[in-house]
Structures are given as C-alpha cells and as structure tokens.
C-alpha cells in the first residue's frame, strides 16, 4: 500500500487557503499536541508550501490526503521537521537544566535518602546527537550544582546514529553551537582548535559514556541499566503511534520507579502514552515513572 515518492516539483497550486490552514492545523494538533495560533499563519503557510514542493505532490489536497492516510510516513516526518525547531546547540531549552538542578536532583536525592539507596545519580541523554545536550548537563552540574563535589553523577548519552556519536566523542564545536555558553565556561572547559572551533576538555568528554542505542529496541535500552533522570527531547514527536508507544515503554523500563523524564518543550506524553505521570515543577512540567504501578 505504500506509494512511490514523486520527484519534487517547481510550482504548486496557489498558497494555502484558510480552509487548508484550518485542516492542517487541526491535523497537526491532533497528531502532536502543538497548537498554532492564527498569528502563526505565515510561518505555517511557508513551511507547508515547502513540504508540498519537496513531496512532488501537485496541491495541498493531494499532499494532505497522503499525509492523513499514512501512505508516506516521510511526509509526516518532514512536516514535523519543518514546523518544529530542531537545531541542536549548547544549553538549548535551558530552563529544563534549571529544573534538573533546582527541582529534580533534590527530589532524586530525597528519594534515595528515604530508600536508603546509594551509588551514583544516573542521568541519560537520548538522543544525544553530536553531544551538546549531555555536555550541557555536565557543564551545568560542574559550574552550578553545589552538591557536585559530594554526589557522584554518571552521565550517559545515546543515539542511533554512529556518525554523530563519533562527533560527540570528539567534542569539537563551532561558534553557533556555543553561542549560549558563558565566556568563563568556554575559557575553563574548552580549547580553541582553529577555524573558530573549540574542543571540550578531555576531562568532561571522558565523563560521558556514549552508546549506540535504538530507543525502540528493548534489548538496546535494557543494556543501559536504570536511570534517575532521562532527557528525551525532540525525538518522540517524530515517531508514529506504535513506535512512540514502544519507545515510551522502553524509557519507562529505563527509569527507576519515581525517576524523571524530560521531553522537548513543545512535546507531550498526551500524544504518546499515559504510563508516565505528569509532574508540576516550578520550572515547568516533567514526567515521572510512578513509584508504584498505577491501576488501569
């Protein structure tokens, strides 16, 4: 039942009508939970038009029909890609790292205290891509967590793509990726390596364990052992119903009971799975694996 992808076309029918915009907006909201206000009309129109051109379909109607029928999953991926911000850089969505330091880690430590549990606090970044996220966590912990001298923290990072893992282990970044990093941190933890690039210190690079993991593969994820906190930002939104459910199950299994999961800023478990409990923290919502099983 899958269609062959036509070649990209130069022209398409006139720009989105109001009706087209409404239909697409409702579809996108239903699928992802992301709502576009009317004020985003121009933004959405331009990107949808780009998607239609790329797809080779000759009109919004034809493109939208393919999208809805699920015959071309690549179209949905592309639409989500176009309509969400995907650039990776250091300290992206930093308020979540604030949440980690100010709200989540204290709770993790309190839970461990009550349970009489020792060992390192374990944090996972998946997908880690080229490493900005796990290294951002490392930098925030070193620079801003008062307890880092007293508490062992294990940082793990995983991605399905070996090429980005290699880049991550190398730890060389350009100005764009580093633009939010304070000067003093750049001075302390990076070395200039020419061409406007800097390399992260060997000490921090060696503090992160990188693995190749497919989050939909239960065995892959199980090999990692359990974490207190997982960052899984801006990935699940791309998955279809079954894949996202399976990924959610694997992430659930990878968390200690009571452990915390961060999704991307505009993502929600409401389109994925009810097995996690939303948790309101001062900095925003985070998800928790229930401490005990929840009744169906």
């Amino acid at each position: 039942m899958s269609a062959t992808a036509p070649a990209p076309r130069a022209e398409i029918s006139p720009a989105l009508t109001d009706a087209d915009f409404q239909r697409f907006r409702e579809f996108f909201y239903r699928r992802t939970g992301i709502q576009f206000a009317n004020s985003k009309r121009y933004f959405v129109d331009k990107r949808v038009e780009a998607c239609i051109r790329e797809s080779g379909e000759d009109s919004f109607a034809a493109w939208f029909a393919s999208l809805r029928l699920g015959l071309r999953p690549d179209l949905i991926q592309q639409a989500i890609n176009q309509l969400t911000v995907n650039e990776t850089y250091f300290l992206r969505e930093d308020y979540q790292f604030d949440s980690l330091l100010r709200s989540v880690l204290p709770r993790v430590l309190a839970d461990r205290g009550r349970a009489g549990r020792g060992g390192p606090v374990r944090i996972l970044s998946l997908p880690c891509s080229t490493g900005e996220e796990p290294y951002s966590i490392a930098l925030r912990l070193i620079e801003e967590w008062p307890l880092i001298a007293d508490v062992d923290v294990e940082l793990h990072a995983a991605d399905i793509d070996s090429a980005v893992l290699t880049q991550a282990r190398t730890g060389v970044y350009g100005a764009r990726s580093l633009q939010r990093v304070p000067e003093s941190w750049l001075y302390r933890h990076f070395t200039e390596v020419g061409g406007g690039h800097r390399q992260l210190s060997a000490e921090i690079r060696s503090a992160v364990t990188f693995s190749r993991v497919n989050v939909c593969d239960t065995d892959d994820v199980r090999a990692l052992d359990r974490f207190d906190v997982i960052f899984c930002r801006n990935m699940l939104i791309y998955f279809d119903e079954l894949s996202s459910r399976r990924a959610a199950e694997n992430l659930y299994g990878a968390l200690r009971p009571g452990g915390y999961l961060f999704l991307g800023h505009s993502e929600s478990m409401s389109r994925i799975s009810p097995i996690f409990a939303p948790c309101r923290l001062p900095e925003g919502l985070v998800y928790q694996r229930p401490a005990q099983g929840a009744t169906a």
Binding site: E26, R30, G33, P274, P278, C279, R280
Partner: protein, 138 residues
C-alpha cells in the same frame, strides 16, 4: 449574563474537534474564556499549568479517558476543586455513577442542549468564582 473583567476560565476536553468547537462557541457566548484539550492527559497537563474554574470533560478519549482524567484532576497532583461537568454519549446509570465516584459534579448525555450547557456552566461557576468588587480574580 454579561462578560466580566475576569471571565471564568473553562477547559473543554474532547477528542472531537467539532465538539470542542461547539462547546467553545456556546460557552464563549455565555461569557467564559475557553481553552481546549484533546484528551484526558492533555487536560491534566493544562490544569497543572493554568487555573480553571470549570471543566467540561468527555468520556471516550484516547490516551486517557474522561473518568481517569477527572480522578487525576481531583487527585493530589492537580488538586482541583473546580466544578467538573462530564458529557458522554453513553446513557447508562453505571456511567453516571462512575462519573460521580471519580469526582464529577454533573453527568450529561449528548447531545447537550446549548442553552442548558450555558446555564449549568454559569450556575456551577457562580458559587466558586470570587469576583468581589475591588478584588482581582486569581
């Protein structure tokens, strides 16, 4: 009833966009400020982020159905005491009983007459919306 400076906020929860639109129109015309959620889990997340004076909750929704949603709205994680009106296509007494057990204030069977919905919404929020002169509604 006229819109006040601080209209009561209602969250309309239904997986059908058509129903959300319909309830939204009726309640906006009645002076409410309306937000929408497409399933019970999204509703819980909304309730954790913003304060609502009234919830209109459908029963059959994916990811989290209406009963589970109401239980969580009343539960410790959200702790809402705002009135909850459940709306459903099902018309069995066991369903109403389950709604009240979950913490709903009223259980209505679809289709709900628009005038009745508006009247009930106003009545349910009159007791709890504190709009005393000189005092801003939180």
């Amino acid at each position: 009833m006229t819109a006040t400076d601080h209209p009561a906020r209602v969250l309309v929860v239904d997986d059908a966009a058509t129903v959300r639109l319909y309830h939204s129109e009726v309640l906006t015309a009645a002076g409410f400020r309306v937000s929408q959620a497409a399933n019970g889990l999204e509703a819980v997340e909304c309730a954790m982020t913003d304060r609502f004076d009234l919830f209109i909750v459908d029963v059959n929704m994916p990811k989290m159905n209406g009963y589970a949603c109401v239980e969580r709205l009343r539960g410790a994680a959200v702790g809402s005491v705002a009135p909850i009106l459940m709306v459903s296509t099902e018309d069995r007494s066991v369903d109403a009983a389950r709604a009240y057990a979950a913490g709903a204030n009223l259980y209505l069977v679809k289709p709900v007459d628009p005038g009745r919905l508006a009247r009930l919404a106003i009545l349910l929020t009159m007791a709890t919306t504190t709009d005393r002169p000189g005092e801003a509604t939180p």
